[in-house]
């Protein structure tokens, strides 16, 4: 049964419930205390020990139901498993009920089993075969075929084919029945494999998909990936929020708050038993983001803006500006509309023009330079390709001087900086940090560093 529990834990992880070893130990203890007799109680016990939130409870409930969805088959399987002495490779010798009768006694075990129509016995044989094929190792949907074949092999399909050939000449009617039963068996096996994939494969395939997504260049996403990427960005935002939204009041040991100390200790004649320390408020980040939304950079900017604007708890104040040929403020659009709508509106406002960094920077300096204070981090996201127009690096210098930090995120690789019309090296001179930012992973690192700099 312990093995069964471990399989369940794995399935639970697949369902997105984070389980630590300590929790599985607790769950084991709990299960030992309540026993397996009552499924409802068993489920309650597992939910109590494993789940840590409402969502996880729901996921775990579904997982539990899926896992124990065939209780009577499972039970039969165990009895049979014990009877067979743990060796499931050889299909257990079932004593076929009298129905099959005389002629079938020359047939292989699987044929006999199928003809007997003993559902419990068939289910038991299936479970045995699943064990033999180590079905719980299934990870990816591409493995379905292999595992189905393995299970059928373990069931003894080869002997069945021989029997079918033999019967075709001697007893066509029985051969037909057997063929139909085989068809049903194949379907059953496929179903079992699919269920196993659902239980055990989810975690791996999800991980694989996330990993690929995290490292995929944002600028060249396929349409169907865009939605997944938005989900990923949301989860990144949630992680950053959790990490950085901790309370910002911090006791600063070492600086005595004399006034408060005297007041607190007045009752003891001013003998300072209780000390009060000065508190310092930590700043919350203020961010001004300038995003190039022209051509190839547009999609990266979209995701960046999406991320920055879902960090309300962490960031005090975000003002976003989008530019290509000229620059406009887009904070309101991003705050009030759904991501898709917002992106569409921004694109229609600023458009996919060719970018003009010089005039965009000038627009910013004329209209919005007030937004930059010594507490502000200015983030510029763009490829710094100026189309051979005046880069106006002098404006960037003035912005840099006014701000706390100036971070430049460039979707292009380092090697491309400075080649062709890229003015990155000239701009880089006035930036506190220049980072490459082409994938979700790099985006997360960059934003995490920016927010973390305020601690």
């Amino acid at each position: 049964m312990r093995e069964e529990m471990h399989r369940f834990f794995r399935a639970a992880r697949g369902a997105g419930v984070r389980l630590s070893p300590a929790e599985s130990i607790d769950a084991m203890n709990a299960v030992a205390a309540v026993g397996f007799a009552d499924r409802g109680v068993l489920r309650d016990a597992l939910l109590l020990t494993l789940a840590k939130s409402e969502d996880e409870k729901r996921a775990l409930e579904d997982c539990f139901d899926l896992f124990f969805s065939q209780p009577e088959v499972k039970q039969a399987a165990e009895l049979e498993h014990e009877a067979a002495g743990g060796d499931a490779d050889a299909p257990p010798s079932e004593s076929p009920p009298g129905a099959a009768g005389g002629p079938s006694s020359m047939l292989g075990e699987l044929a006999q089993l199928l003809l007997s129509r003993d559902r419990n016995a068939i289910a038991a044989a299936m479970t045995g075969a699943a064990r033999a094929a180590s079905l719980s190792d299934i990870r990816y949907f591409t493995q379905r075929g292999i595992f189905a074949t393995r299970m059928l092999d373990a069931l003894g399909i080869e002997r069945l084919h021989d029997d079918l050939d033999a019967l075709a000449t001697t007893n066509p009617a029985q051969a037909e029945r057997l063929a139909a039963a085989l068809q049903a068996l194949r379907e059953n096996v496929r179903e079992v494999v699919s269920q196993a994939l659902l239980l055990y494969g989810r975690e791996e395939s999800e991980n694989l998909r996330h990993e690929m997504l995290r490292n995929a260049p944002l600028a060249r996403l396929e349409r169907r990936q865009v939605e997944q990427m938005q989900a990923l960005i949301r989860s990144i935002a949630r992680r950053l929020r959790e990490r950085y939204s901790k309370p910002r009041k911090q006791k600063r040991r070492g600086h005595l708050d004399i006034r408060r100390t005297l007041r607190r200790n007045a009752a003891w004649g001013g003998v300072p038993f209780l000390t009060s320390w000065k508190r310092r408020r930590r700043d919350r980040p203020k961010i001004v983001a300038l995003c190039d939304v022209s051509g190839s950079v547009a999609q990266v900017s979209d995701f960046f803006l999406l991320l920055i604007h879902s960090l309300h708890e962490v960031v005090d104040d975000v003002r976003s500006f989008a530019f290509s040929g000229h620059l406009v403020e887009v904070s309101d659009v991003l705050d009030n509309q759904s991501p898709e709508q917002a992106m569409r509106e921004i694109t229609s406002k600023v458009g996919f023009g060719s970018s003009d960094y010089g005039s965009s920077l000038l627009d910013f300096e004329k209209g919005f330079i007030e937004a930059v204070t010594p507490r502000t981090t200015v983030i510029v996201l763009g490829d710094a390709r100026t189309n051979n127009l005046d880069p106006r690096a002098d404006i960037l210098r003035r912005i840099s001087e006014r701000s706390k930090r100036l971070v430049w995120l460039n979707p292009e690789g380092r090697l491309a900086w400075g080649w062709g019309d890229s003015e990155m090296p000239r701009y880089a001179a006035f930036c506190s940090v220049v980072r490459q930012c082409a994938t979700a992973r790099q985006l997360e690192r960059a934003v995490s560093d920016i927010v973390g700099a305020y601690r």
């Binding site: 630590s20 300590a22 929790e23 607790d26 203890n29 709990a30 205390a33 309540v34 409802g40 109680v41 309650d44 016990a45 939910l47 109590l48 020990t49 789940a51 840590k52 939130s53 409402e54 409870k57 959790e242 901790k246 309370p247 009752a267 003891w268 004649g269 003998v271 038993f273 209780l274």
Partner: protein, 315 residues
């Protein structure tokens, strides 16, 4: 008698809690049973008024244990939760013992010798006598064990949560001057949270996570009947059915079990045997706490009462 023995079965827990006037669902009973069996605290989450605090009280009554309640709020720190030194007493004692001090040090010739002698008496003022135990320390010091209720943990600061970790997992507290205080008898710990903020994973990991939602109709009827003796059965059925319908509305604050009980009491006081919409309209303010909610519900009252009345006939 059975104070130190964990309950034999989940049914025993249910009947035990029922004897203390708490009608528990199977989940709740399982949680309490497991908490005693594997010695873990229970973290209870759920909307206000579904009986989170009540569970701790009922458990204490059933077990005949003392209940120590620790109400959490913002700014709660270790001086108020764990222990504090009795400064005034320390000060007073130093004043009184001043003369004694002279005697003790009188024949010391050098400063160093006096200091040495003082060291021998060193920790007099930082001993058990001068510690003022606060709820958490009290809970550990109870000779017969107790039920420790840490109420509304989500109201406290994140630092306080970390402070609790040592108690929750090892049932001990470290006091720098005295060393580690280990629980005489492990208390049963119940933490409640209204979900105002997310608790840390470290805390959640150490607890059994129990969510109490609004009870099912049958269960709530039993709760009302046990809490409001003398209520007519038809009335309690209609009343619970009515409340279940109200909970389907989009309200600011849904009425929970405590409101159901209050309302049942009011109706019993008004000597009504059945739900009729005049009484309901007059007493709706017992059930709903916001003017806007009452306005949303008022137009629905007649239909709800009619439905609830049918419930009484067929249910």
């Amino acid at each position: 008698m059975n104070t130190h023995l964990p309950a034999a079965s989940i049914e025993a827990v249910t009947s035990g809690l029922a004897s203390a006037g708490y009608i528990a669902s199977r989940q709740i009973a399982t949680a309490v049973y497991l908490a005693e069996r594997i010695g873990k605290p229970i973290l209870v989450e759920g909307p206000a008024g579904v009986g989170k605090t009540e569970l701790a009280k009922a458990l204490a009554t059933w077990r005949g244990l003392k209940m120590i309640r620790m109400q959490c709020y913002e700014g709660l720190d270790e001086a108020k939760a764990l222990y504090e030194w009795k400064y005034a007493k320390q000060l007073l004692y130093t004043q009184i013992l001043k003369d004694k001090l002279g005697e003790v040090l009188g024949d010391a010739e050098t400063l160093a010798a006096a200091l040495d002698r003082l060291h021998d008496f060193g920790d007099v003022f930082f001993s058990k006598e001068f510690v003022e135990p606060r709820p958490l320390l009290q809970a550990l010091e109870q000779p017969g064990g107790c039920v420790l209720l840490v109420d509304e943990i989500d109201k406290s600061d994140a630092e306080f949560e970390s402070l609790l970790l040592e108690i929750l997992s090892d049932y001990q507290i470290s006091i720098p001057e005295l060393g580690t205080v280990v629980a005489v008898v492990k208390p049963v710990v119940i933490l409640t949270s209204n979900g105002e903020r997310d608790l840390s994973d470290a805390l959640k990991r150490r607890c059994l996570h129990l969510h109490i939602g609004f009870p099912e109709q049958k269960l709530e009827e039993r709760i009302v009947e046990s809490r409001v003796p003398g209520i007519a059965q038809t009335l309690s059925q209609q009343l619970v059915s009515f409340i279940h319908q109200v909970r389907t509305l989009d309200l600011k604050k849904l009425p929970s079990v405590s409101e159901t009980i209050d309302w049942a009491r009011v109706l019993v006081l008004l000597q009504s045997n059945e739900l009729d919409h005049e009484t309901v309209k007059d007493t709706l303010n017992v059930l709903l706490k916001y003017e806007a909610d009452i306005e949303t519900t008022l137009p629905q009252v007649t239909t709800f009462v009619a439905k609830a009345g049918r419930q009484g006939v067929f249910g």
